[in-house]
Every structure is written in structure tokens, then in C-alpha cells.
């Protein structure tokens, strides 16, 4: 390994010995690629021509008026595939090609990362197998179909709780078996080095664009930058270029049914450092180190771990993490839909809900008056809208029976 893969005491490569050569090869390929102008140009071209970058920032006038505070979105919902995921799967798939790999594998929870990886399988003509908890295969039948439509195999994982965590376990096992010709296309900034740094590197484009766009459109930097945190990839991607600025960084975790109920996924808020899936980071675990089950209305945030860089940012106090409940997120989902005509992913709705709380707090600080939000553009809240809500319609329908009524 050329790097130590640490963020303070977090990160590392806690994997079975058998995976080390693959990680070393990957790190090396990535470190070379990121300096290679051809690779960079090709990735940039794909991000633009295939994925539709840059994505805009959108000033939400209605939401701002309603909250009395300027709210701006970074629109990753407009990326091909419907979420920020595409940014980094493009990078990894290009890297896999470069390394001469013949096959991609990936884990998926609700299916979003699986769909993103399936897109890459199609685009790069690579045999692709997606591990997905059997329970999730049942729950997310449409995404399973979507993946198969793109020609990939979806392998249901029956072991454990048969959800995301188990799909990762299974993908790691597959990788250990087929490590020579297979690239494990991990879905977030978690996992062993180099994944956390590499995925962050590919996602960094979010914040890079946003910072420039904000400056150009409104001058200066936002006061607060807010993103939801599952594994943490969209958050890191958005935060990265704001770390050297004055902007306060906020990560929003899923409080599920409430932090006290135990049914949540607030890894940074309620967890403690531990080792899972290759890295030392905050974890939700019991007193013996067994990983506990999590809950969130948003499948993409329903994960007991978190990327090690977030653990570092938390301990360094450069970013602040707090959690919002399922109900808060659903309300924010409705709020953004009704006030701007933008339906966020339930994951992203957590960021919106967090931003709403911050807006209220900021307003209270200046005396609670609602007027003249335009005067505070220099104090705007920039929200990472990591994805769109199309995938969440069935879930939302279930939670808003009063809005339902057509059909079924």
C-alpha cells in the first residue's frame, strides 16, 4: 500500500488477508489514474455527456419565503440514474476497465447502488453481479427488475438479516473468491482503504461545482452546508471543497422512529468506534461488538456503519452530525414537493429536514423575524439534494394515506 488509509484513528483496511492484494492493486491503479490526464479527461467527458453534469444549484424561493431563510439546493437528483451515485460508479468502472477487470460486483440495499452499478455494467460491457438481501429483493422488486433489464444478475442473499449489511458481507466473500478478475464496486465512502478516499475523490465534484456556482450566483459561500449521511458519500462529496471555507458542515442521520427507540440508523450520533466492513469508524453495536440492526424509512440510510472520514470530521469537530426522524423526513419530503415541485429521495429528505431545523435556529438567532430572507443570501443554507424521489413513491404513499386515493 502506498498510503496508510487513515483519517486520524479511523479507516484502515480490516479485511481478510486474501483481499489485500486486490486493495493494493486498486489503490495503485487509482493513485495512478487520478494523475493521468487521459483518465481524468475520459471521466470528465462521461460525467458531462453520459451523466449530465454539471448539475445546477437551485434557489428555493417558496421554501425560503416559508422558512424566512435562504435555502439553496445542489441538484444531484438531476444526475443520470437519479442520484449522486452515478458520479462515483463512473469513476470506479472506468478504473476497473483500466485494471483489466472483466467483472463487477456490488452490494445494494434498496437497489439504488445496484442500479447505478448495473448502468456501468451495461455501459462498460462488464459482466455484473449484484448482491442484494433477499428481504430487499422482495421489497424492491422494481429495482430488481430494472437491474435485470440492464443485463445484470441479481443474487439474493439469504444470510443474516438478509439486507444491506449481509449483501456487503456476501460481496466481500465473492470478491475474496474472484479477486483476480473482479472489481468490487463499493457503493459509498465506507469499506477498507482506498474506497473511502477514492469514492470521496469521485464524489468531490458535487461540492466543487456547488462552491463555484454558489459564489458565482450569490457571492461568497453559504453559511451552512447540509447533507444526509448513510455511508456518507454524498455528504463527503459535498463537504470536501467546503472544508477549507467558513461554511459550517452538517451531516444528517436517520433517527428512524426516534433515537430512544433503538430503531434508528444514527451511527455517528449514537454509535461508538468499531471495526466493520474493512474500516475503523463509528458503528452501531452492542456492548460485545455485535453489529445491531438499524431502521430508517429511507433504505439508503439504513446502515449500521459510516465512512471513516465522517468519524474523523466529527471527532475533529469540523462537521456536526445530528439526526432527524422518519416523520421529519417524510414531512420534508412533502414540504419540498409542495413548495418547489421537486420530489426528493427520502434520503435527501433527511437533509432537507435537517436544513429546516437549522433555518429555524438561524432565524431565532436574529430575533425570529420571517421577512427579508433575500437579505441573508450570505447566510444561505446549501442542501445536498442527493437524489430524486421517484423510487420512494410507494413508501411515501403508504405514509400519506390522505393524499392517496387513486387506484389500488
Amino acid at each position: 500500500m502506498r498510503q496508510n488509509g487513515r483519517f486520524g484513528s479511523f479507516g484502515g483496511f480490516y479485511v481478510p488477508e486474501i483481499l489485500m492484494p486486490a486493495l493494493t492493486e486498486l489503490e495503485s491503479a487509482w493513485l495512478d489514474a487520478r494523475k493521468d490526464p487521459t483518465f481524468k479527461a475520459e471521466l470528465k467527458r462521461l460525467l458531462a455527456e453520459y451523466a449530465g453534469r454539471p448539475t445546477p444549484i437551485t434557489l428555493c424561493e417558496n421554501l425560503s419565503a416559508r422558512l424566512g431563510w435562504p435555502m439553496v439546493l445542489k441538484r444531484e437528483d438531476l444526475v443520470h440514474g437519479g442520484a449522486h451515485k452515478t458520479n462515483q460508479v463512473l469513476g470506479q468502472a472506468l478504473l476497473a476497465k483500466r485494471m483489466g477487470k472483466k467483472r463487477l460486483i456490488a452490494e445494494t440495499g434498496a437497489g439504488q447502488h445496484g442500479v447505478a452499478t448495473a448502468m456501468m455494467g451495461a455501459l462498460f460491457n462488464l459482466k455484473t453481479d449484484i448482491y442484494m438481501g433477499a428481504v430487499d429483493v422482495e421489497r424492491q422488486a422494481l429495482n430488481v427488475f430494472r437491474m435485470r433489464l440492464m443485463g445484470v444478475r441479481v443474487i439474493p442473499v439469504d444470510s443474516g438479516s438478509a439486507t444491506l449489511k449481509d449483501a456487503i458481507n456476501e460481496a466481500l466473500r465473492d470478491w475474496a473468491t474472484n479477486v483476480r478478475d473482479t472489481h468490487y464496486l463499493l457503493g459509498t465512502v465506507a469499506g477498507p482503504h482506498p474506497y473511502p478516499q477514492m469514492v470521496a475523490d469521485f464524489q468531490r465534484v458535487i461540492g466543487k461545482e456547488a462552491r463555484t456556482q454558489f459564489k458565482k450566483r450569490f457571492g461568497g459561500t453559504p453559511r451552512a452546508v447540509v447533507a444526509c449521511v448513510g455511508g456518507g458519500s454524498n455528504a463527503i462529496g459535498l463537504f470536501k471543497d467546503f472544508i477549507p471555507t467558513d461554511a459550517a458542515l452538517y451531516g444528517v442521520e436517520p433517527a428512524g422512529e426516534g433515537l430512544r427507540t433503538g430503531k434508528h440508523g444514527a451511527t455517528l450520533g449514537k454509535g461508538s468506534p468499531g471495526i466493520l466492513h474493512g474500516a475503523r469508524s463509528y458503528l452501531l453495536q452492542d456492548e460485545h461488538g455485535q453489529i445491531t440492526e438499524t431502521h430508517s424509512v429511507s433504505a439508503g440510510l439504513d446502515y449500521p456503519g459510516v465512512g471513516p472520514e465522517h468519524s474523523y470530521l466529527k471527532d475533529m469537530e469540523r462537521a456536526e452530525y445530528f439526526a432527524v426522524t422518519d416523520r421529519d423526513a417524510l414531512d420534508a419530503f412533502h414540504l419540498l414537493s409542495a413548495s418547489e415541485g421537486i420530489v426528493p429521495a427520502l434520503e435527501s429528505a433527511h437533509a432537507v429536514a435537517g436544513a429546516v431545523k437549522l433555518a429555524r435556529k438561524f432565524r431565532r438567532e436574529i430575533g425570529g423575524k420571517k421577512t427579508d430572507w433575500r437579505k441573508h443570501m450570505d447566510q444561505a443554507i446549501l442542501i445536498g439534494l442527493s437524489g430524486r424521489g421517484d423510487k420512494d413513491m410507494e413508501t411515501a404513499r403508504h405514509h400519506f394515506p390522505e393524499l392517496d386515493g387513486g387506484g389500488k
Binding site: F13, I18, R173, P273, I275, H288, G289, Q290
Partner: protein, 272 residues
């Protein structure tokens, strides 16, 4: 803990011209009481050393068979302290057989390395293999192992290149866990072809004795492993499968495990 049970055992085996047979089981599978009986059955069957897993929620290095054992044990309420209890009880009856632990890093990390290793040592454990700790992350585990008298077991695989092999061999430890093939634990029908050249490469480096693992499920495999130059063979999934097969009948389970171990042990005598 000043006895070096591994060295004693390897010496004795060498004298006898035998290889070691090392059965694996998950502590607490399917419950604490039965598990203790399984340990006894293994010893009775002639096991030279034991390799014991502490059940973990996310055993990424293991295949479905062992994961199922982990789940059964966890369902039975087995925690690391309870797993140590089983070892402690067994150790009282048998002070000679080397006992190795197979754990995942977080089980060690959560209580703290020192505490975990001290408790393991107190229970009678001789070595620890942390399945998700490769060479690069091993320093603190080795260090604490040294302080607490617990041997650090490293793994080598068909993908380990010579430089890394040399580095690993240099670290010593009671034995090297030689992974016979790519992948995770689980049964195979024949011994992997990659085992032989790997063992040959290891031999060149010197270093601790070698135990070959992954896919050892028949006496032929043991024979072949030893013939290929291993100092012994570890069999996990096969043991767990036997236990699973007799899930309803504790007595039968123990007898079958004992018979299996005996058959496998026998094969260690014909390898060399």
C-alpha cells in the same frame, strides 16, 4: 501462561511423524452446553489442536455454513464472555491441547484489545487469529498478544507474494494459517491445486509450522495437505455440517464429531 502448548504439540507430532489435525467449531453452537460436549468429542477423537470461533454478526471471511453456526450461537445468547466460559470449563478438563481463537476484529476492538486478550488468556486460549486483520493492521494485535502470552496467527494465501510471505513468516507466531484457495470457508470436493505450490513457497521462507485450511472435509484432503508439505490441516465447515445434520440429537452429534475427527486424525499419519 508460560507453557507453549503449540510448540509442545508440534514437537510431539514431529517426533511421531504425524501431521496435526485441527477441527474448528463455533463456540456456543448450537448452545453453550452442547458446544462444550463438542469440544470434548473433538479431544476424544484425537484432535491435536482446536480452532474455536467466537460468533460474530458479520463474519465476512466465512461461508454460509459457518455463518449459520454463528447465527445459531448468537441466537443462543452466546457472548464473548460466555464463549470464554466454555473454553475455561474445557480447559479445566484438558490442559494440554492448544486452543486457537478465530475472531473478527470488532469483537476484540469493542472491549479493548488488552482486556479481550487477557480474558482469552485467562480462559486458556493459546492463539488468536483475527479474520479481518491482515498484515498491515496486525501490529497492535501482535503487541498485545505478546504482552498477554497469546500467539498471533497470520494468514497466507495463494495471492500472497514472496515478499509478503517473507515478512509474514518473519513475524512468527505459533503457526501460519495457510488458505488453500481463494474464497471463504466452506467445503470442497478436492484439495485446491494452489495449495501445493503455496506450501512450497512458504517452506522456502522458513517460519512457523503451517496449517492448511479452507475446504478440508475428507481424510484424503488431510493426507494430501500433509503430503504437500503442510504441518497439519484445519477443518471447519465439515465439522459444522456434521453438527447441523444431527441438530436434533445431542448424543449423536458428539459421537459423529468424535468419529469424524478420529478419521481425519488417522489420515495425518499417512501423509508424510
Amino acid at each position: 501462561m508460560s507453557r507453549d502448548r503449540y510448540a509442545e504439540t508440534f514437537d510431539r507430532l514431529a517426533e511421531r511423524g504425524e501431521g496435526a489435525f485441527v477441527p474448528f467449531t463455533v463456540l456456543g453452537d448450537p448452545n453453550a452446553k452442547t458446544s462444550l460436549e463438542i469440544l470434548r468429542a473433538m479431544a476424544a477423537g484425537g484432535a491435536d489442536m482446536l480452532e474455536l470461533g467466537i460468533p460474530f454478526s458479520d463474519p465476512v471471511a466465512d461461508g454460509p455454513t459457518i455463518q449459520a453456526a454463528d447465527i445459531r450461537a448468537l441466537k443462543a445468547g452466546i457472548t464473548p464472555p460466555k464463549a470464554f466460559d466454555i473454553i475455561r470449563k474445557f480447559r479445566k478438563e484438558n490442559d494440554d491441547i492448544p486452543i486457537g481463537l478465530l475472531v473478527y476484529a470488532n469483537l476484540v476492538h469493542e472491549p479493548g484489545l488488552v482486556k479481550f486478550y487477557e480474558e482469552a488468556a485467562a480462559a486458556g486460549v493459546d492463539s488468536i487469529l483475527v479474520a479481518d486483520v491482515p498484515l498491515e493492521e496486525s501490529a497492535p494485535f501482535r503487541w498485545v498478544g505478546e504482552k498477554t502470552g497469546i500467539g498471533h496467527v497470520s494468514m497466507v494465501t495463494p495471492l500472497t507474494d514472496d515478499a509478503r510471505l517473507a515478512e509474514t513468516a518473519k513475524l512468527g507466531g505459533p503457526y501460519l494459517y495457510v488458505v488453500s484457495r481463494l474464497g471463504v470457508t466452506g467445503r470442497d470436493t478436492s484439495l485446491s491445486k494452489s495449495a501445493k505450490p503455496l506450501l512450497r513457497r512458504i517452506k522456502k521462507q522458513g517460519g512457523p509450522p503451517t496449517l492448511l485450511g479452507f475446504g478440508i472435509s475428507k481424510p484424503e484432503h488431510v493426507c494430501a495437505a500433509i503430503a504437500a508439505g503442510a504441518d497439519g490441516a484445519i477443518s471447519g465447515s465439515a465439522v459444522v455440517e456434521i453438527m447441523q445434520k444431527h441438530a436434533g440429537d445431542r448424543a449423536k452429534m458428539a459421537t459423529s464429531v468424535r468419529r469424524f475427527v478420529a478419521a481425519m486424525k488417522k489420515a495425518t499419519k499417512f501423509g508424510k
